[in-house]
Symmetry: C2
Amino acid sequence: MATIHDVAARAGVSPATVSRFLRGQRVRSAEAVQAAVDELGFLPNIAAQSLKSGRTRTIGVVVPDITNPYFAAVVKGMESVSRDHGYRLLLANSDESGAREADLLADMARQVDGIILAPATEHEQTPLQLRDSGIPVVFIDRDLADGESFDAVLVDNRAGGRLAAEHLLALGHTRIAMISGGQESTPGRYRRDGFLEAVSAAGVEIPPELDLIGDFREERAYQLTLSLLSLAAPPTAIFTANNLTTLGALKALHDMRVDVPGQISLIGFDDLDTGPLLRPPLTVVDRPMTEQGVLAMRLLLHRFDDSQTRDLPRRIVMDIKIVERASTAPPGPQSPEPHR
Amino acid sequence: MATIHDVAARAGVSPATVSRFLRGQRVRSAEAVQAAVDELGFLPNIAAQSLKSGRTRTIGVVVPDITNPYFAAVVKGMESVSRDHGYRLLLANSDESGAREADLLADMARQVDGIILAPATEHEQTPLQLRDSGIPVVFIDRDLADGESFDAVLVDNRAGGRLAAEHLLALGHTRIAMISGGQESTPGRYRRDGFLEAVSAAGVEIPPELDLIGDFREERAYQLTLSLLSLAAPPTAIFTANNLTTLGALKALHDMRVDVPGQISLIGFDDLDTGPLLRPPLTVVDRPMTEQGVLAMRLLLHRFDDSQTRDLPRRIVMDIKIVERASTAPPGPQSPEPHR
DNA sequence: CACATCACTGAAATCGTTGTCAGAGAATGA
DNA sequence: TCATTCTCTGACAACGATTTCAGTGATGTG
C-alpha cells in the first residue's frame, strides 16, 4: 500500500527522485532510497504507471479453448517469452464464438499493448478496428479471409490436408471420409480444401456422405463417426481435422468395436502427448506447438520497438509433417459391418 | 483513443455526467451521451478506472503448468465464472519453482484484486504477505503446510493414495511401487502418505527401492520407471502420483515392451481425456477438475463483496473416486524380465 | 576570480476516470 | 405565491506515477 510519496518522505527526497532511482537513473541519495523501498516493501502501482505512460505491459491472448492441448502449448510458449520481456498475459477463451470473441477484444482493447488471437471465424471485424486504433494484433493458428496485412504465425493447412490424403491414397484407400472443422475458420477450410484437392488429383471421388463438416470438437466428431459407421458402405479410412476431432472419432470407433486400422484407418491432424500410447498409436499430421507461441510473441514484441518494419506484415508459415504410427494401414478384406 | 472528455464535449455535457451515465445512473441527456459514445467508439481507460477506484477487476492465476490438462481444465472453470462477473484473468506458470512463483506473486500484488494459486511448495512466504497486504488468496489443488487460515479448494489426497493402494492390495499385489510427486507440495506428500498408510495397514512393506520420489513431471517418471524395471525383483504394480507421471511410466513400460497389466499393473492419479483410449485403458484415481476452478473462483469473488464471512476461511474438499479400467489386474505368473 | 559547464534536484502538470460538493432548476405542498 | 424538497448538474480535487522545467550547488576552465 506504500506509495512513491511514502518512500520519498522516508528517504527525505522528492517523489521525482524516487521515480528516477527506480528507473535506473543516477541519484545522490541512492542508498537512502533503496533502504526506504525495502523497509516499506514498496511496489509501484501498475494502474498509475499505465495511465501515465500509456503502456500496460500486458498482452491479451484470445484462444478458442485453453483445454485444447494445442492451445495450452501455444500459450505456454507465449508466456515464456513475454515474461522474459516483462510482459504479462491476459488470457481468455472465445469458445469458438465470434460474438464472444468480439466482446473479449473490445474489453481488452483499452488495457493491453497488443493482442495475439486465434480468430474463431475468418470474418471478424474487430481485429481491423483494433489495428486501426493502434493496437498491434498477431494471428496464431488461424487467419482472416483477407488477413494478409496482419502479422501471423501459421502452418500450411492445405499442405497438411494434402499430406493426409496422399498418405491414405498411397496405402490404397479410395473410400475415404473426412471430418472437417468449422468452414468459417481458415484451418477448417484449408485442411479440407487440401484434402479434397489431393484426392481428386488422384482421380478419387468423395461422395457427400463421407465429406462431413464438424466443429473441431470431440462430441460432434463422435456423432459424425457414428453416422459414418451406420452407412451401407462405410469408409475404409477417416481423416480428422484436429486433435479433439481425432479423439471423438477414436472413441466412437472403440465404442463400436471397430478395429483400427484393421477395418478402418484413422489419421488425425495435430499430435497428442498420448498419441504414441493410444490404441492404436496414432498416425497424425504434426506441427510445432510451443514454438508457434514463442514466435507469435516475438513478432508482437518486435512491433513494439521496431519502428522500421512497422508497415510490412510478417507472416511465418511453419513446417508440417506426417508422423506415421499404427492407426493407418492398407484397407483390409473385412469392411466394418454397418450399424443401424 | 477517445476519452470521457471527448464524449462529454460531443454530447454537450460534463465528463461527470458521462461517467454517471456509464455506470447506470439516470441522466437527462441519456440519448445524446449514448449517441456520442457510439459515434466515438468510446471505451473507458481501465488503468484510469483502476487508479481511481483501487479495484482492477482482474484476478491473478498462478499454476505450475498450463499444459498439464488438469490445470488447463481448472483455469477454464475459473474463467467461465470470472467472465460472468466482469473479471479478467492474468495467467502465469510457476514451472513448479518456488522462486519464480514468488516473483510472479510480487508482480501481481499491485495489479489484481485477488489471486488463485496452486503453490509450488508448501513453505511459501509470499501468500502470507499478500494476505497481510489485503489481497485475498485462494489455494487450489495444493495447500501450505500451515494453510488452514486460507480459503482453498482441495481434494483429500491422502484418501486418494489410500484408495489406489487398497485397489492394488485387493487385486493381490504385495510388491508395489509408487512414483511420488515432489514432497515439498501437499499433494505430493499426502498422496504418498495415504498410500503408505494403507499398505502398511495391510501388513505389506514397501522397500526403499520401490518408494520413489519424482517431481510430477513426465521425464523423471519415465526414468524412474526404467530404474524400477532394471531391479532384480521388479514390482508387480505401480502407482503414479499424477497424470504426467502416469504418462511417463506408461511410455517407459511400452518402450520396454512390458505387458500392462499382464506383467505390471498401473494405476494413476488424475484422469486424462485419452484415458479410455490408451493401451491399456487406464485405471485412475479421479477428481473433479473444471469444477474445482469454478468453486475456487466463486470463493474468491465471495471474499470481495461478502464482508460477513471475511474472517472464516472456507475450505472445500471435493470427492475423489476410482475409475476402474483395464490397466490393473491380479499379479500374473510371469513377472517382467529385469533389464540391465 | 569570474564564468561556463555539469550533475542532480523538487515543484508542478499530467494521464483519464470517479467522487464530493455546492448549486440550479423543476416539482411539490401549504 | 413562496418555501421546501427533489433530481440532476458541472467544477474540482483526488488516485499514484512520470516528465518537464527551471533551478541549485558543485566542479572545471580561462
